[in-house]
Symmetry: C2
């Protein structure tokens, strides 16, 4: 295979200078139709594609966006992650960008030099990475509001709306006392979901007992722990339990079943995320569905607009939907 064609080659064929070729190829319109046509033809004939390194060098832009992953191995395991990446990649592609995975451990200058901007995920309530990127002037878009960091450029799901639908539904079924299986509060999405839950609970005049909240890791095991704490705390038990995530909801159901209670007859359970497995387990988990793939698409789109100095609406809040499934019913 011969050497890749450059603008010089085109210039030679057409009989103009490289500068002219560059200009025409970049859509500069102040040239004669004739030369334009000939340059374009030659480019096609030589199968010309620009050398991105050269372009990057002179423009100081890499046309690469990074998906920033905090160092936890868990980040990768989430199905969330794959969906997100799909959305990001698709949009990036449409704009001539490529997406790289930036593992937190690897966030040295060398890596940073190679990306134009970042999409941040798994954001903490008080996130050191966010602060770092702000100080370092790295353009980024966050997938969380960035509670303590006061962000503007973010795209999130309409958590409040989803929880309102869910809780109202439960209330209509007759539930007055709703427990909560709570994940690690350091994560912003966990914090946000929980505080919104509390807010709605209060506004709707439902029973609010501190003992109805149990904490655990964001895992099946964590869900079991949380449920155990809830069910052992007070003598009066909640008739329904909301969980931070579907994964935890699964653990909650397992625990309840393990102590001989049935879901939803004894206790209704509601998750959040609509994870792939949620519809298959027994009973299927009622949950708040949000669209991670769309989240990814919007995040990429916003970031690229930002990088290219175009206007963009911000923040973006995407619709969610409460999915009714077999894990809820009226209380006994």
């Amino acid at each position: 295979m011969s050497r890749k064609a450059t603008i010089k080659d085109i210039a030679k064929i057409v009989g103009v200078t490289p500068a002219t070729v560059s200009n025409v190829l970049n859509g500069n319109n102040r040239f004669s139709e004739d030369t334009k046509k000939r340059i374009l033809a030659a480019a096609k004939q030589l199968n010309y594609t620009p050398n991105m390194f050269a372009r990057a060098l002179v423009k100081n832009r890499s046309y690469t966006i990074g998906l920033f992953i905090p160092a936890s191995p868990r980040a990768f395991l989430d199905p969330y992650f794959s969906e997100l990446l799909r959305g990001l990649t698709e949009i990036a592609l449409e704009h001539g960008y490529v997406v790289s995975i930036i593992y937190a451990d690897g966030l040295n200058e060398t890596v940073r030099n190679r990306i134009d901007g970042l999409v941040l995920t798994e954001v903490k309530v008080k996130d050191e990475y966010v602060s770092f990127f702000q100080r370092a002037n790295v353009p980024f878009v966050s997938l969380a509001r960035g509670a303590e960091n006061e962000l503007e450029d973010y795209v999130v799901s309409d958590t409040r709306r989803g929880l309102e639908e869910a809780i109202k539904y439960l209330a209509r079924l007759g539930h007055r006392r709703i427990g909560y299986a709570l994940g690690p509060l350091a994560y912003e999405y966990v914090y946000e979901r929980y505080s919104i839950f509390r807010d709605i609970q209060r506004k709707m005049g439902l029973i609010c007992e501190a003992t109805d909240v149990g904490t655990g890791e964001n895992s099946r095991q964590g869900g079991r722990m949380a449920a155990r704490r809830i069910m052992r705390a007070a003598s009066e038990k909640p008739t329904a339990i909301l969980a931070s995530t579907d994964v935890m909801a699964l653990g909650v159901i397992e625990y309840l079943q393990s102590i001989g209670m049935s879901v939803p007859e004894d206790v209704s359970v509601v998750g959040f995320d609509d994870a792939p497995f949620s519809r298959y387990v027994t009973p299927p988990i009622a949950t708040v569905r949000h669209d991670i793939y769309q989240l990814g698409r919007h995040a990429a789109s916003m970031l690229i607009s930002k990088l290219e100095g175009r206007d963009y609406t911000k923040p973006i809040i995407l619709p969610v939907k409460f999915i009714v499934r077999g894990s809820i019913s009226s209380p006994r």
Copy 2:
């Protein structure tokens, strides 16, 4: 924030030329200890990091490897994918590389110019992409043997070993007739698992009936279909069923239970992959575990060696392990 430091800046401070700085920084040893020391000091002081674009331009290398994803949205959904990416990213990082996601749709020249090599996944038995990369001289490492493409640079799991363990275990329990829930044969891993299964079955003198094989998509639903076909075909039924993947095994179990059979008492079921859910479902699925994360690490390592002209052992075949769980027992 001021301009980034370059070798010129260092040169100016130290009082040498950029060439010397470059040489020293690249470990060229033919310089006096004194100047070396001073250059290194200045570099640190200025917080110098090389400009990757400039380097890429002159070396014609991007220090980026791509994870190539065929166009199916499914590719992203697999938990497989996240694990793989984690392994890839970690090793890439150690060698100063970055990994980009290359979505098949986006595989135009522009994108191709930006990566030094690819890791190929979801390879088909007769894979057009593989042929394309071969012709186009794109360096790559495959996560499959590349049946029809005769590859050398690949890293895979020791499927034969795993299946041998599994089938011998079943045989020891007394199973003589083992069915197979088969996924889409176009995918090489499906094809390989199946043909090895057949081979072992024959060598061990077990019963081989064409009707004991049912096909379906690689999904829960597909597993149900496959199981249905198997159980409806012959009058004499297999006492155990192997599935192409854990996901299908799950479907198989569901189907069996739906027609009133119990697993493992009536039929034993064995999967492949050791997916995250496999240990949690009822009954937990016996399966062949392989380490996707390690697969990723080795693939990245092999690709980078290849790119840098170093020697490397090939192919690499990683150990697997048969995991005994509740979905198997002696036949009635």
